[in-house]
Amino acid sequence: MINNKEIFETIQMINQQHLDVRTTTLGISLLDCVSDSAKVTAQKVYDKVTSAGKNLVKTANDIASEFGIPIVNKRVSVTPVSIITAANGGHLEVIRALDKAAAEIGIDFLGGYTALVHKGMTAYEEQFIRSIPEALSTTARVCSSVNIGTTRAGINMDAVALMGKIIRECAERTADQDSIACAKLVVFCNAVEDNPFMAGAFHGIGEKDLTLHVGVSGPGVVKHALESVHGDLNMVADKIKETAFKITRVGGLVCKETARRLGANVGIVDLSLAPTPVMGDSVAHILEEIGLESVGACGTTACLAMLNDAVKKGGIMAASNVGGLSGAFIPVSEDAGMIKACAEGKLTIEKLEAMTCVCSVGLDMIAIPGDTPAEVISGIIADEAAIGMVNTKTTAVRLIPVIGKGVGDYAEFGGLLGHAPIIPVNTNSPLKFISRGGRIPAPLHSNKN
């Protein structure tokens, strides 16, 4: 039988250290909604999402109440919309149907306004990508992602060039809200098909229909656990593993139970440390607890590498199916420690880029000056994609060029998206490189067959 100390520890984790299940995300296949009529497809999409997802919020809330563990987000991911509307060009009709369906079932975000163009774009996919600014600025709940590279295919630089312009247009269309549409758009290299986290979630075509994924969290729990470790780095790594194991077991329990009650397939547990802007829920503060004066100091990349690895090692034994992005997230606007370090000039975009080589995703929720040219944004995307491609890992870019604001100003997004100081970027022009177009070939080590 469990003892009182263990019960007390679990309660303290939840109560004092912000342990929660960050997201339960129901993946819904829309492949059976394909038709040659945009109107019919949109209606089928609305019907399927509202039918499959109608009990998601209530079920997650019931489980949260019974187990006494907060489940923060309840969300839906769908088959990339560019695939299901290719036959009829009805992407804007479908995103409106999805936005309405998300509101109907009571969720704040739904992911999957997505195109996978890592090797090349069809004419329709380019048209789809060009619709993203209108799509994101005229809907509230739908998130978008574009995969522009893979280790296997290389990097589609035509898509990279286009995405720099698309991000700027998203920013301009929502200039009155600190360019918030950009917070709903992720540019990926090596995108995964079972990611439960927004804004980059979509339901891959290799997935079963109705699959329930869970993303765990708990930076505060790891930070608290490390406060009692005064030994060497082996002991630090072991404590992180032990803590990640416990956190992940809770995620696995919630995943199985939610799937069972919804009649859905059990998906993956994403072993993530996802921060929120609340004090005591910061990945930066874990790195500082390990021994840095501030995140961004020399040694930050090494600490993050160890943290990321230990989280995976601890979590992987704790869950039957591990997937998604799995690792530590470093979204600037959603992490109190990152916000502070950026505002004080202790953490730069170059250091953040280095950190993305060893953590789970990429340059996430970073506010940059509103006058940053499209080709500079494309250059940042290309750099980040190169890191992902060469290291066979997922990398992503979610940048917000905040129109009308510059270095020293703040962007305010509200809620879980937080706020971010606008940090400088290197504006030496990569225009000639970006304008060349074509494809950066896949690296030698991608040829494994």
Binding site: I2, N4, I7, F8, S65, E66, F67, G68, I69, V250
Partner: protein
């Protein structure tokens, strides 16, 4: 199923009496009970047996309200969250 009822806060008279009174009203059997001081908190933990058709969420709400009136925190949680975290 089994659930864990935990009371954490400042010790005072009548906590066990009131918590167990509510459990009796709800037809819930107490299987184990202990109390101790943990990290300076008074901690009382009960393992209770809840029938499959009991409304744990409702019990949880009643206990939360009782906790507020006593100035302590009372939680009712399915035992599986503790088992999953601490047992292989």
């Amino acid at each position: 199923m089994k659930a864990i009822v935990s009371v954490i806060g400042k010790d005072k008279k009548g906590i066990i009496a009131k918590v167990s009174g509510i459990l009796l009203e709800q037809d819930i059997n107490i299987e184990d009970i202990s109390q101790t001081i943990m990290q300076d908190y008074f901690t009382m933990i009960m393992m209770v047996s809840v029938s499959a058709n009991s409304d744990v969420t409702k019990l949880s709400t009643i206990m939360n309200n009782l906790g507020e009136s006593l100035g302590v925190t009372i939680r009712v949680q399915h035992e599986d969250i503790f088992n999953s975290m601490h047992k292989l």
